[in-house]
């Protein structure tokens, strides 16, 4: 069915499911190591720095910097057909971890710039809640 983005998620490992569920509740979450404080994404069950399984979820404050972005003009899956053209951005949270987010609007009129400050929020799209970056 066109426009149902949940079907693209597929099966998730438990720790990925926790991150996804937090996002569905409107919270952008990342993990932080209890031993040394290292923060990371994407979600995984051990700290990629010290390999400790002791960590906790933390909610991102919402500040981030734009690293790069693309605009999809073709739907690589039928569920995405209703949304092209759409923009996807890579951002670095002010807390450190990086993530993929939706970029508000399709660049063209107001060209974004690498390093630009963005503000993150969540938005409903295709039956799911996604992180959205707005240029400040």
């Amino acid at each position: 069915m066109s426009g149902d983005l949940q079907e693209l998620v597929g099966e998730l490992a438990p720790v990925e499911r926790e991150a996804w569920n937090a996002l569905q509740d409107g919270r952008i979450a990342f993990q932080r190591c209890r031993s040394h404080g290292h923060p990371w994404l994407p979600a995984r069950p051990q700290c990629p720095r010290c390999l400790s399984p002791e960590w906790e979820w933390e909610e991102a404050a919402g500040g981030a910097a734009l690293i790069s972005w693309v605009v999809y003009h073709r739907a690589f899956h039928p569920a995405l057909a209703d949304f092209v053209p759409y923009a996807v951005a890579a951002v670095e949270l002010s807390e450190g971890p990086r993530m993929v987010v939706a970029l508000d609007g399709v660049p063209g009129e107001a060209e974004p710039r690498a390093g630009a400050a963005v503000e993150l929020a969540t938005v409903e799209r295709g039956g799911v809640r996604l992180a959205l970056a707005r240029l400040l």
Binding site: P42, R74, A114
Partner: protein, 378 residues
Amino acid sequence: MTTAPACVLAGVGLTAAGTLEGRSTISLNVEASRLALADARIDKDLVDAVYVKFPTSRLEFMYATKVAEALGVDEPTICGCWDQGGASNISMVSQAAQAIAAGEIEVALVTAADNPRSGTRQAYDKAWGTDAPYGWVGIAGGYAMIARAYLEEFGLASRDLAPFAIAARRHGAANPAAQLRKPLTLERHQEEDWIVEPLRRSDVCLVSDGGGAVVVTSARRARQLGVPAPIGVLGFGHAQKAQETIRRADLTATAARPAGAMAFAAAGLRPRDVDVAQLYDCFSVVPAMTLEDYGFCGKGEAPAFARETGIEVGGGLPINTSGGLLAETGMPGMQMVVEGVRQLRGESTSQVAGAEICLVSGQGGVMTTHATMILGSR
């Protein structure tokens, strides 16, 4: 200058490219291997190692031993798959060279085949986890993300990537075996639709069925067996980047820099010694960034290098002289190894006069894996 190479590419083989309806990947590996062994004039019974590139479009267990069995090589000393995307071919040649140098094996078949055009695309079509609902799917998006960072950092635009597609398409047009033989102009490139902006249709590789293989042995064994036209390997280089593209501290610093430096050091050569290069071009931005990180020009200078030095046959550094992934076949990289050998034998359809040193690059994932090989005809 360099010392005599210990390891040689004794023979190469390439199947037809394009839509090969009904052909299994194993049958394509067998056909490519038969051609490579015939080219080397080495009897199949002498093969004691089979290295096989993982067929990316469909996951299959014990794939390499299935290929070996189909080849009638039932009990090879070494046999296995390498899962590194387009860097696999050169990495496997390197692994074979080390095993040969260690005295473990004498004659290795290194083979790769896939049928994503007429067969399944199972491995590409599955859902991609929590990033997928953003539409962050497919390989092109990852390369576009790097391409955008590259164009932004150096003040370049889509038109600056065009020379890499145009060169591949010119060389493809001259190659009767190429899947795409229609030349490309800058004007036509700039009129094309975006696939994932900033990449246009002709910036993106072909999707092709096909196979390629190479026979690796020692220089000494090649002489004993009367191999007609062995090509020496002068040096290998390797490097990898973080799997998650966006986690890389600098999106425009590629694995080509350390891998190229390693290969040039091993060969005792410098970029200016290279006569012709086969630079993996799944997307036009890749050979541009590879040229820079191999040291042929500075960062952000590849478009100017293409315009001023020239990357087409007749230019200062012809690249991808059989058409590469953009025109010859979308096969992930073995065609670049085969063309490197053909150039140094004087057999290319876009021959570089007097070519003696050829650089070949392979890379996979989203500029994740990288392997470099420098070939020499003397």
